[in-house]
Symmetry: C2
Amino acid sequence: MNSLPQNTLSEKFRRLEAGCRASGLSLTHQRRTLLRCLVRRSDHPTADQLYEELQNDVGGLSRTTVYRILETFVRAGLVTKISSPQAKARFDANTGKHHHLVCEQCGRVADLFDSGLNLRGLPEENSSGFIIYDYEITFNGLCPHCQSIGEEHKS
Amino acid sequence: MNSLPQNTLSEKFRRLEAGCRASGLSLTHQRRTLLRCLVRRSDHPTADQLYEELQNDVGGLSRTTVYRILETFVRAGLVTKISSPQAKARFDANTGKHHHLVCEQCGRVADLFDSGLNLRGLPEENSSGFIIYDYEITFNGLCPHCQSIGEEHKS
DNA sequence: ATTCCACATGGTACTTTATGTCAACTAGTT
DNA sequence: AACTAGTTGACATAAAGTACCATGTGGAAT
């Protein structure tokens, strides 16, 4: 019954471990810890949120290490770095094609899987001379939590 | 001949001034200075870049003021705040519908006007319960400058 | 299993980016 | 010209991220 989500999570974890090996990254305790955390969370945590959660674990991580590992993962293509209007980098272990909903009020980020939104192709030519590799659609709005706050005392 | 771009710039400026008045914002010297600068620049400057440029003007702006005025303009809808993967907030006085090219290397931002890319409509329903107001497509790639650097010494 | 070393980590210091506070100033109204 | 709400500047502080380097460790070689 609920064995399926467990399986997909540990599958994701194993795939990311394999990705580390493929990139020549040694699988340290700290990297595994971060990977496990990233796989479990779907709320696009910031580096500091991850640090908060992990620092008190058995053999916790240092803040520097969290930042450094995240950058390493991004460079290896294992994790995506997304930027919210709140100007804090957020991280996402789901590298499949999807888009993001960002709350204008609190910065919360949620996923939006809607293949109907995917562009047919990338714009080939553009006057600015950029080479385009990828794109992402960011939807701005209000999360359920901030909607209810707005109703109570409209600031 | 070249009177047209001049006109459109000062037109934009006057439209933004009108926007200030409409929002009840008094038109201080500092706000006008910032507006002029934002209208003139199309490179999506960061708050500090604007401060750098303006601090030595006659009656220059303080850093605090630059940040504060920009936030004010964003809240009034006169200026858009965009967030790049470099996690520095950038500002854009062009509030018309368009999208952005972001350089993965240096964070440079260029505009992409391509109405063919605009979505037919916003996704009505989404499982996360967000109210969606708007969207923006961000294209990731390499700017011309970083392309040439990459060719010289492939890091 | 033990040795070894390139790679990784922890801790501190530091930089950059952004916000809070409050006295002094000014735009725009009266 | 005077008044006042709104705005600014300077400083202090917070938050986010990076640099440095001595110490520690994963995993290949023996």
